[in-house]
Amino acid sequence: MIRGTIIGTVWATRQAAGLAGRKLVLVAARDAEGRASGRVVVAIDTLDAGAGDDVTVAFGSGARNVLAPGPDNRALLCDAAVAAIVEGAG
């Protein structure tokens, strides 16, 4: 997973059927020290996170497990998902 800040929302009317109109957020990734890494990812958001929220983003099977835990989720079109909204980090 990575840590990042939600900086925006993305809309795409013409999309693959598997995306199913899910909410897509733009996340600016941070590096290990919490500084901007310059990397931006698009993640599926099921936690209703808002702009400015610090979040963790899971990739790969971890991202699919956010949407639907279990072995039957391999058909999901998801490679990045907001896994948690960060309240504090030490």
Binding site: I6, G18, L19, A28, V42, D79
Partner: protein
């Protein structure tokens, strides 16, 4: 997934049989992207009829193979439904054409965010397209 802009198209003279009929587009990621290979671009299978100049959402890895299998399975004329997606030599697929990106000015200006992305995305011009042997 990443956000990028379609800057060109690739046609292959010879290709893996499983790629038959695939529309391959060149995508320049917005923001900084860290691909495994040192290039500023990636080539993605197009599943949603995107065109040059479109901003798109690109999935990487397994979901990309899955999307490619769905669209290519049809064009390969498979009678038993889509072939096993893990067989497809694909690692990037365009899953959506972006209508709108709403950027939060305060959030994107914060330390730790991505200052570059807060600028308006540049319009595509002929000069921004990928020249043969060059970079966009």
């Amino acid at each position: 997934m990443i956000l990028g802009r379609v800057v060109g198209r690739v046609w292959a003279a010879r290709q893996d049989a499983r790629l038959g009929g695939a529309k391959l587009l060149i995508v320049r990621p917005h923001g900084v992207y860290e691909p495994a290979l040192p290039t500023g671009h990636l080539v993605a299978v197009d599943d949603v009829d995107a065109g040059v100049g479109d901003d798109v959402i690109v999935a990487l890895g397994r979901p990309a193979r899955l999307a490619a299998a769905k669209s290519l399975g049809k064009s390969l004329g498979s009678s038993s439904g889509a072939p096993a997606s893990d067989d497809f030599p694909v690692d990037a697929a365009i899953l959506g054409v972006v209508d709108r990106v709403e950027l939060d000015a305060a959030a994107s200006a914060r330390p730790g965010a991505a200052p570059g992305i807060a600028r308006p995305l540049p319009a595509i011009t002929d000069g921004a397209r990928l020249a043969p042997g060059g970079r966009a």
